[in-house]
């Protein structure tokens, strides 16, 4: 994929995802947080599922530290994303410290979807920071406007993200092991959704699929 389409694709995903900041801002303020607290979460925590979980715990009357624990459990998948990204991004010193903040679902998916390392680095930075800027702006808008603004789901933005991830996976499905690994990842994650806290199905499904993939390769060599 040439650089130009990587730019457009990354910004497209950035806009679709960043728009969701409105839902977060609105939910945060209706859950009893003030506008500053909503914005601080988007700026400093910046990982959507963890932010929603924190606010959800507060809204349910839970202690803030319980909210923090839940949020960090969900945020642990970013650790695994970082391990996958490290060999491609090759970041050092302050650059690593800065770019770490945008290690999230979308930037990881966009980067890992590029076969060329230079494209992967471009996709990571553009997706990560376009989501960051828009997510924070839209959090402020949502926090100020509350529920007066419509639900992004009306525009199908939730389906857009699933479609984007599939489009990234698609070119990788040419060989049988990759197909098996992707299907196992999806199946295990789906099965775990009702059983575990949100966020865990992605880590556990991904891990199970990697293990199956390693076993398949060993069989091939036989």
């Amino acid at each position: 994929m040439p650089g130009r389409s990587v730019r457009a694709d990354s910004l497209g995903v950035g806009v679709a995802t960043g728009a969701y900041g409105v839902s977060f801002g609105a939910l945060a303020t209706t859950s009893g947080l003030d506008v500053w607290q909503a914005c601080a979460l988007s700026l400093l925590v910046f990982t959507g599922a963890s932010q929603f979980a924190f606010v959800g715990v507060i809204a349910a009357g839970g202690a803030p530290l319980t909210g923090a624990a839940t949020a960090m459990l969900l945020g642990s998948r970013n650790l695994f994303y970082g391990i996958g990204l490290a060999p491609v991004l090759r970041l050092r010193g302050w650059r690593r410290a800065v770019q770490a903040q945008v290690v999230i679902d979308e930037s990881t998916a966009m980067a890992l979807g590029q076969p060329d390392p230079a494209d992967a680095r471009l996709a990571f930075r553009l997706t990560g920071w376009s989501v960051f800027v828009l997510w924070n702006l839209m959090t402020l808008v949502g926090a100020l406007a509350g529920t007066a603004i419509g639900d992004p789901r009306t525009f199908g933005l939730d389906a857009a993200v699933g479609g984007a991830f599939l489009a990234l996976l698609w070119p990788r499905l040419t060989a049988l092991p990759q197909r098996v690994v992707a299907v196992v990842g999806a199946a295990v994650a789906t099965g775990l959704v009702p059983l575990t806290a949100a966020g865990l199905p992605i880590i556990l499904g991904g891990t199970a699929a990697v293990l199956v993939g390693l076993f398949l390769r060993r069989e091939e060599r036989g």
């Binding site: 060999p87 009306t154 984007a164 698609w170 990842g185 994650a189 575990t196 990697v210 390693l214």
Partner: protein, 99 residues
Amino acid sequence: MIWTGIMVTAVGCYLLKLAGLSVPDHVLTRPLTQRVAALIPPALLGALIAVQVLADDQLLVVDARLAGLGAAVVLLLLRAPFLVVVAGAALTAALLRLL
């Protein structure tokens, strides 16, 4: 108290992100690490798609998102460009919700 919770969450979530990027080189260049690293993209993308399309918190839900994914499959089979696939998925879901 809410501010304490926010700060603990912020520091914890940031350190998790940083830790993954900070795995040392000699670990990354091991053959096993490289084999695992090659398997991570399809594994994680498969899991992300499933959760993105089917999960609503801890419930499995079949709704307009699945139709959006179906539209994405058709567009990918027709070799449509990335942004057309993304827009097609969104449009399909949005139109279904209008009905």
